[in-house]
């Protein structure tokens, strides 16, 4: 641990600050693109799961169970090698985005399904009786109401996704953590373990901590409001 205060170590990090910035950029880029893909998949499969049509429910169930019960690392490796050995390599970042998006999409689908199911049945029936079509019903009536239930677990899923960008390491790695690792083990740059890991950990913490705190606060507020509703019933 002696390296923490060595001026030379910190100096080296400042010289190679570009490495960390590049890693941060790659992590943010991967996370953001994967988030868009995950949201798309989550909405589609979440709506399928609550559609009541047996075939659609089953398809969404299979997707969620298959993805949630196998490690992301395995999926990413599989995708990368399958593409590489068939001569269609997409590059590390794009492979990462696809694998991460599909993986997170399964969690998003579950979150959205639970949110929709939390809306009382009467709301669906009322909307239908007012002549709303399926999309109108979902868009105007159901999704806005389920939003407050969906938001906290969705933000937690996003935090996990940001942490999971580190999985890129196994396929060659261009993300923040992989670049930090190759920085500390590199021939010219190596050695300053403690400062480099402190920088990398701080960046991750600064990205994730506000989000997870926000999720916890929302959840607490939601519970408080529910308790209030019960008390109001009493009056």
């Amino acid at each position: 641990m002696s390296g923490i205060f060595s001026a030379r170590g910190w100096d080296k990090i400042w010289t190679y600050r570009g490495t960390f910035l590049l890693g941060l950029w790659n992590t943010v880029e991967t996370a953001f693109a994967a988030l868009l893909l995950a949201l798309l998949l989550g909405v589609v499969f979440g709506l399928m799961a609550t559609s009541g049509k047996k075939a659609l429910v089953r398809i969404s169930r299979i997707y969620v169970e298959l993805i949630q019960n196998t490690p992301l690392l395995l999926q990413m490796c599989f995708l990368y090698y399958a593409l590489a050995f068939s001569g269609h390599s997409l590059g590390i970042i794009l492979t990462g985005i696809l694998a991460l998006g599909v993986y997170t999409g399964a969690y998003m689908a579950e979150v959205i399904r639970a949110g929709i199911e939390s809306v009382p049945k009467g709301q669906f029936e009322a909307a239908q009786s007012q002549g709303f079509g399926y999309l109108g019903r979902m868009y105007y009536i159901i999704l806005p109401q389920s939003f407050k239930v969906i938001l906290p677990p969705m933000v937690n899923t996003i935090v996990n996704m940001i942490k999971n960008t580190s999985c890129l390491y196994i396929v060659g790695g261009a993300d923040l953590l992989s670049l930090t690792y190759s920085f500390v083990t590199g021939e010219n740059t190596g050695g300053s373990y403690a400062p480099a890991y402190i920088v990398c950990g701080t960046i991750f913490f600064l990205m994730c901590f506000p989000l997870s705190t926000l999720a916890t606060m929302w959840e607490a507020a939601l519970k408080k409001r529910e308790r209030k509703a019960v008390t109001l019933k009493e009056a």
Binding site: T70, L74, A82, F85, S166, V184, C200, T231, E234
Partner: protein, 287 residues
């Protein structure tokens, strides 16, 4: 895909199967050991964070909170890398055993330590959820009976808290089994790493003198199937437990509501409302 037969022939090699099954065994052992240790550390962290709020001992609560938030908001792989450098491995791991070389044994210890540190933070939050579900009156009643705080926690609060979180802890086992694949980044010990290693040596075994796409599909397919079978059966157990809990809740709710309707005991709307919501929740989960 003309090489599918060659790829499948790899699975008839007893050495490969044994290598993979040993990996499965390591995956299971690492995960179970990590979760057991993490439950102990996590429970201590949760108790500190939840109940150390008086001026003299507030420090410990704060430290526990810092630990939990730090580990929850940074990746597991980050801690594995750190432990590789900074975590000392004890002497007895520095031998060839469990069919692993001494280098791999040291790596196993360090990476498992990282997994335990990381999972402790997650389980601490789960335990805290359980602690918060125990009514305050339980603690007050215990203290008023003259129990010291430690005894109140050990005999009254923790048993109730753990009973409430058993399903969540089991799903954490699933997560940890998946997380243990991160060890593949640093050492060839568990299932994921071994699958990857067989793939890189596939041309020696499949008879075509090259690594083909079909090898990727067969090897990763087998690994995925194994992970799926373990995790899916665990998640079925979790689900049936939750259903049972919900059924009990529904039963209690119905009973309470029935009493209220017969004008008995329960006088306020509030209690009736609570009973009704318990019953509805339960019914929804059972259906």
């Amino acid at each position: 895909m003309g090489t599918l037969g060659n790829s499948l022939s790899m699975l008839k090699e007893p050495a490969i199967i044994k290598f993979l099954l040993n990996g499965v065994l390591f995956t299971l052992i690492i995960s179970v050991v990590a979760v057991l240790f993490s439950i102990v550390f996590g429970a201590i962290l949760a108790l500190l964070r939840n109940y150390c709020k008086r001026p003299g001992i507030r420090m410990f609560g704060r430290l526990a909170a810092v630990y939990i938030e730090l580990f929850r908001n940074t990746p597991l792989l980050f801690w594995i890398f750190i432990c590789l450098v900074f975590c000392p491995a004890p002497k007895f791991m520095d031998h060839a055993m469990f069919g692993l070389s001494s280098v791999n044994n040291k790596l196993l210890f360090k990476a498992a330590a990282a997994l335990i540190l990381y999972t402790s933070g997650v389980i601490a939050e789960i335990v805290r959820g359980g602690l918060n579900s125990v009514p305050k009156g339980q603690i007050e009643a215990g203290v008023s009976q003259g129990f010291p705080m430690v005894a109140v926690m050990w005999y009254i609060v923790l048993p109730q808290a753990f009973k409430a979180i058993i399903p969540t802890l089991l799903s954490q086992v699933i997560t940890t089994i998946k997380d243990s694949s991160f060890l593949a980044n640093v050492a060839v010990i568990e299932l994921m790493a071994r699958t990857k290693q067989i793939l890189s040596a596939a041309k020696r075994y499949n008879g075509t003198n090259a690594i083909n796409v079909s090898d990727v599909f067969v090897l990763f397919g087998v690994a995925a199937l194994i992970y799926f079978m373990i995790n899916f059966s665990l998640s079925m157990v979790v689900r049936s437990m939750q259903k049972k809990d919900a059924a009990v809740g529904m039963h209690i709710g119905e009973k309470l509501l029935g009493r209220w309707h017969s004008g008995y005991e329960m006088k306020t709307f509030r209690e009736a409302g609570a009973a009704e919501s318990i019953m509805k929740e339960g019914r929804k989960a059972v259906m």
